[in-house]
Amino acid sequence: MNDISVILSSAIRLTAPLAFAGAGEYVAERGGSLIISIEGMMLSGAFFGILGSSVFGNPVLGLMCGVLGGLAVAMLHANLSYRLDANTFVVGLTLNILALGMTSFLLETIDMTPHRAGQVTVPLLHDIPIIGEPLFVNRWTIYLLLLAVPLSWLVVQRTRWGLELRACGEDPQAADVTGIDVNKRRREGVYWLGLMAGLGGACLSVAQVGLFNQNMTAGRGFIVNAAVIFGGWRLAGVIAGCFLFGFADALRLALPAVGYTIQPQLLIVAPYVAALLALCFFAKRNRRPEALARPFVRGIT
């Protein structure tokens, strides 16, 4: 394997958890809910993934536990914000602290013997030079992306539910008048995010690292928020944004080893600045959902 292959491999591994959660946050934000508790969902997914794999002795069941762990945080958030009308940022910040505290606390008090997801090599294709190894030799969980991402797109763009969800994100008052239960749709969008973010977190812990560390997501959830902004609220853009962040991270890790010196801070900051610049200069193309982060209360315009 040459250097480029190594960097690409690591970039794809770093991108995968982001991409799962990115697909989920895309769904939630199209419904108008700006959720900053992705970090908590991913962390919870990562922890319960490992816990499940250690209790059941099976990485598949572990992954499912991780998905449920993410969903649990999402259900808390959705019901507090879109049933009880609590400010979504308060809930998000609080749930992030709660997930971090809870997983750190439980980690110290539970002994776990995790089981790691296996590696698969796609025959023939992995021989392709440069991109063969990065794309076709991976822990199998990564290939769930091929299901999760198209499904997220399909659900939002090609179903009645998705149309209603987008209506809630653009003009909740109008959606309400046509008989859509706005807050219910938003809750469902957040549930989807919980499933996806939990899966992303579990993918990180069960497949890539093989164990759970305290605060192992280390801000990835917030990167997902930035990636959705970078992608201009389009799924292809969001996934590209996730890859950009993953790639920058891979470069930061790999470049010193290959002998290049570069400002690590500059590399890390570049995607964020790119997201800001994209917002400034492609404002027409990157249109955010009109009612993003605005709570919906019936009867108030």
Partner: protein
């Protein structure tokens, strides 16, 4: 982000809370809800403590009380912890009043403290002039950082929530950059392996403290924080500027029609909240931490934001909330010394915050139900079914 501020009064009127008995019932319901919610949070925490450790829940809560409120010295520590949170929260309220949703307070705090540290450590100012200049520089640093978001908002129409969110991460890297460059802030120790942290601030340059450990001892910064809260409270309630902010927050269209400049007043509020956050960073640096390290902001900015949001546009309410956050931080530190995993505090604190969110939310739902019922009964008597949709 626009909060539906007028809705509560409207609903209150519909629900008939103007009579004295219903007002008393409402107060009782409020208190009951708070008690139930807090008890629930403590119960969940207790279950966790019993399930995961051998410690008795009472001992754990007692240890947290010991570390935060039991002795004069513990109260001093709580006040020290509450001081920057209060400053951030007061600034946060200025922004939320104008419906400028600044969630980048953490980043503004980081940058503020950083700029303050450069002034304090690198300019070689005389001890007397250094402290005020450090604090002013911190405030300016935070204001400039928030100013970027303000500029993007009024020049290119970039949403404030999004830009401030992104700028938080840029701030982390700016901090990391500065701490790794010897010509900026990295320590000037003689060790070959220099750590990514600044030099320690000399005692003469620090914010003075009142009292001596182990007795009551507190940083005088707390007085600055409380005075600022008082000034802002007055300015918001009694000045033209405060009225304009409120107008902008409640109805931007009406405000524009009345000649309130969105850019000047709204953008100004955003910059000012950044200045407060930056000042808090300076106070952390010169008052308690004395050294800039990668994680020195320690989530203080986010706690301040939480505090501002829980206080709901009301400056006076930030005082007890910030005190509560300070007590949780002080108690948590003490708890760690007793052998219980210190992460327990990070479970108890958010649970209590969530519990504090519940009562107003439940009351709001309750009012809406009542309004709906009232509207239905009126619709029945007047035979006007259209009212149901209008009031609900």
């Amino acid at each position: 982000m626009e909060e539906p501020a007028g809705s509560e009064t409207l609903l209150a009127k519909v629900a008939g809370t103007t009579t004295r008995t219903s007002r008393r019932n409402r107060l009782l319901a409020n208190i009951a809800l708070y008690v139930v919610a807090m008890a629930l949070a403590l119960a969940v925490s207790s279950v966790l403590i019993v399930a995961a450790t051998e410690a008795a829940p009472f001992d754990v809560f007692h240890a947290m009380y010991e570390g935060s409120l039991s002795r004069p010295s513990a109260i001093g520590l709580t006040l020290d912890r509450a001081m920057p949170i209060l400053i951030v929260a007061v600034g946060g309220i200025i922004a939320t009043r104008a419906a400028m949703f600044n969630i980048g307070l953490e980043g503004q705090l980081m940058v503020g403290g950083l700029v303050g540290a450069v002034v304090a450590l690198k300019l070689g100012l005389p001890a007397g002039a250094a402290l005020p200049l450090t604090l002013v520089a911190s405030a300016v640093g935070g204001a400039l950082w928030a100013g970027i978001a303000s500029l993007l908002r009024f020049w290119r129409g970039v949403d404030v929530v999004i830009s401030t969110l992104l700028l938080n991460f840029v701030a982390i890297e700016v901090l990391s950059f500065a701490l790794n460059k010897s010509w900026l802030l990295q320590e000037t120790s003689s060790n070959t392996q220099k750590l990514p942290q600044s030099d320690r601030l000399e005692p003469a340059y620090q914010i003075t403290r009142i009292g001596e450990q182990p007795g009551f001892s507190v940083s005088t910064g707390i007085f600055l924080a409380v005075i600022l809260a008082g000034v802002v409270m007055f300015a918001l309630a009694r000045t033209r500027w405060g009225f304009r902010l409120k107008m902008l927050g409640m109805n931007p269209n009406a405000a524009r029609a009345a000649g309130v400049s969105m850019a000047a007043v709204g953008g100004g509020a955003l910059v000012m909240s950044g200045a407060f956050a930056g000042l808090a960073g300076g106070v952390v640096f010169a008052g308690t931490a004395f050294r800039i390290q990668p994680g020195y902001s320690a989530n203080i900015g986010n706690d301040g934001l939480l505090c501002a949001l829980i206080a709901r546009r009301n400056v006076a309410a930030t005082l007890p909330v910030a005190f509560f956050f300070g007590a949780m931080r002080a108690g948590g530190g003490f708890l760690a010394a007793t052998g219980v995993p210190r992460y327990l505090v990070d479970v108890v604190q958010p649970l209590l915050v969530l519990a504090a969110l519940l009562p107003p939310a439940v009351l709001f739902l309750w009012d809406r139900r009542q309004a709906l019922r009232l509207a239905r009964s009126e619709a029945d008597s007047h035979d006007e079914p259209a009212l149901i949709g209008a009031a609900a």
